[in-house]
């Protein structure tokens, strides 16, 4: 017995035919043939046509046979109406009418007449006889295909049908039970989604359930590595650890159904007729028997493969069990991807938080006000890159109207860099006796910070500048930092002569020389970090030292004080890099000798 097919929906469309036949046998016979032809055009089967022809002939014959004298003058009317699901025929007679009997039986076997009503009733689904003074109407209806008279009930056939029906019912019951089990399992997993954090445990339980419900003996789960180059093996069930499977490369020509299924994006079956290749790593788990490998994807990206296997070779997986494999594994795939996304999002959030903390530390280090150092004017600014770069500057009153300027760049990013900047600031401030000896101060700071810096493989470039208003000079010492730029009135901007020692944290006992540079009235000088000279414009070109010198000259000419010069330079820097975000902090300190 074939499985039931879904019924389709039909619109109710009726077409109709009306015939009038003279009240005699030949004429009504011709009319019934016309009706038969009309119904044949409308797609009735041979069985249905035969049934209608006979029923109609019997009805029409009665109309003729029992018509009285007056009735014989009137035509027998036949109306046929064809709907999508049924046919209706109305025969109007002009007889005296009769009472349609409650039960219609066959007469005696040797009766020569009296079978008409029986035939009409047997060949139709519904009969109604409506009696009127002007004429009686026999309404006949048949729905759907005929259980044709040629289908004599055959006991053997019925028994066969019954057996087939029972088998189908048993199969369906088994499938239903299995579906129910899997639904329950899936609901259980779904309910854990919110609480579930251990993906490995989740996968293990899901695969164990799948093995049980699908009546498999083992399962192998492979996941694509992060770089997409190979399949790793997180799970072989049952008996984890019993079958250690090495990772297998996702390359062409590898004799592995798992690799091939993943590359071809299709399930691969294996059984004694089509066994695993001799070098297939899966053989370690399933030397014989049969199984199916299912590659699974999320948003078109390969996530991994899942293989179900059975030791018995003669029991292949049913379609229903394969469906189970797909359903369970595709569900697991989504959980795996979700867990990864969650991890990534969490990691990103942690990084963002760290950067936020670092930025806060950096901001807290910068001086709130600029101490006075007349006749020198000082103005400073720090433009932070999105990825905190570790720049900082400090302005420390050094007694007697002098000022110690600190500018530094901690190599590294994030919280560690910000912490070292803080430590450097404290270290320098803790040695006021060396404020007027920037070289010695740097050496001392280096000795203090070296152990910690070298432990984390970081270093710091720094420049200390002691501003002496009475001597109208600036004394600088540099640990691998950018040079002092000076623009004396009437002269082009130039790099001040000086020496630079190694950055802090490279060697513990570095010595730093200090250099004096005169700053006559109207001189504009600048300390900066390499975020300025390494700034890139839209086409990727770096600003460079010559261009910076030029900007300093222009600032000296076009502005009159330190703040003005700073703002001028900042504006030019913003203009240079345009919309592009900074890749490093930019720090600058302007010193102007106001005449």
């Amino acid at each position: 017995m074939s499985t039931t097919t879904a019924s389709t929906v039909h619109r109710e469309v009726r077409t109709a035919l009306r015939l009038e036949a003279t009240c005699d046998f030949s004429a009504v016979r011709a009319a019934t043939l016309a009706v038969r032809a009309w119904l044949a055009e409308r797609g009735l089967t041979a069985g249905e046509l035969a049934a209608w022809e006979l029923a109609l002939v019997e009805a029409a014959n009665n109309a003729v046979k029992y018509a009285g004298a007056a009735g014989q003058e009137l035509p027998v009317v036949i109306e046929v109406s064809r709907g999508e699901r049924e046919v209706e025929v109305r025969v109007t007679d002009h007889t005296a009418g009769f009472d349609w009997p409650a039960e219609v039986n066959l007469p005696e076997l040797d009766a020569e007449s009296g079978r008409g009503l029986f035939l009409i009733k047997s060949l139709t689904d519904q009969v109604a006889y409506l009696r009127h003074a002007t004429g009686n109407v026999l309404v006949l209806r048949r729905a759907g295909p005929v259980s044709a008279p040629d289908e004599v009930p055959d006991v053997c056939q019925l028994q066969k049908q019954l057996a087939e029906a029972e088998t189908a019912l048993t199969d369906m019951t088994a499938e239903l039970a299995s579906s129910y089990e899997s639904l329950v399992a899936l609901f259980r997993y779904s309910s854990e989604l919110g609480a579930q954090t251990d993906l490995a445990d989740f996968s293990r339980r899901l695969l164990n359930d799948l093995i049980q419900i699908a009546e498999a003996d083992c399962a192998v789960l492979r996941l694509v590595s992060h770089d997409g180059s190979c399949l790793e093996t997180p799970l072989v069930l049952p008996g984890e650890g019993q079958f250690p499977l090495a990772s297998v490369a996702l390359a062409a020509g590898v004799a592995s159904v798992e690799v091939n299924a993943a590359r071809n994006r299709q399930d691969i079956w294996f059984n004694p007729e089509e066994p695993l290749a001799g070098s297939d790593p899966l053989r370690a788990v399933l030397p014989g028997g049969n199984g199916i490998c299912h590659p699974f994807f999320v948003a078109d990206q390969l996530v991994g493969t899942a293989t179900l296997g059975r030791i018995l070779a003669d029991k292949p997986f049913t379609a229903a069990q394969v469906n189970l494999l797909h359903t369970f594994i595709d569900f697991l795939a989504i959980q795996i991807v979700n867990a990864r996304l969650l991890d990534e999002r969490t990691a990103a959030r942690v990084i963002r938080r760290e950067l936020q903390i670092a930025a806060d530390i950096q901001r807290s280090l910068l001086p709130a006000r600029i101490p006075a150092c007349l006749p020198f004017e000082v103005s400073a600014a720090c433009r932070s890159a999105l990825q905190v770069g570790g720049d900082f500057y400090d302005l420390i009153p050094a007694g007697d109207g002098t000022l110690l300027l600190v500018i530094a760049d901690v190599m590294g990013k994030g919280v560690p860099a910000a912490l070292f900047a803080a430590v450097l600031r404290s270290t320098i401030r803790s040695m006021p006796q060396l404020f007027d000896q920037p070289g010695e101060l740097l050496a001392a700071a280096n000795r203090t910070l070296y152990p910690d810096l070298s432990l984390v493989d970081m270093f710091v470039t720094a420049k200390l500048a002691y501003l002496d208003p009475r001597g109208q000079k600036i004394v600088t010492a540099s640990a691998g930092h950018c040079p002092l730029l000076v623009c004396q009135p009437g002269l082009p901007a130039a790099v001040a002569t000086g020496q630079s020692g190694l950055p802090l944290g490279i060697e513990p006992l570095t010595r730093y020389a200090q250099v004096e540079t005169a700053l006559p009235p109207n001189t504009l000088a600048m300390l900066y970090t390499d975020g300025l000279t390494e700034a890139r414009n839209a086409t990727g070109e770096m600003l460079g030292e010559p261009a910076l010198l030029q900007l300093l000259e222009q600032a000296a000419a076009q502005t009159s004080n330190a703040m003005g010069a700073k703002q001028y330079l900042l504006a030019r820097l913003v203009n240079y890099s345009g919309q592009a975000p900074l890749n490093d902090d930019q720090t600058l300190i302007l010193i102007r000798h106001r005449a």
Binding site: F25, E53, L109, D110, R115, L119, P149
Partner: protein, 101 residues
Amino acid sequence: MNIQSTDPQTAVVTGLMELVAANATQVRDEIRAALPASTIRLDLDLSSVTFLDSSGLGMLISLHKTLQSRNGMVRLLKPAPNVRQILELTRLHRVFEIAPE
């Protein structure tokens, strides 16, 4: 309609088309009239009978009675499926001997 005796006791009727209300009585009478008195086996070749209604059935029964009164029988030869159907529907397939050939 054609009737032939294959031997003194057997007659075969061929050439029957429809057996319906319009012609059933007439055909019956024709056959009866042409039936030799010695015939006790009447074979009706139904191979070209396209349609049979209850009047046709009645006619067959009538012939059957005629032959029965002679201790004879009627055989129906090669009935078309739809003819077979109506015979079975009305249980008359056990009354006549049916030879499908």
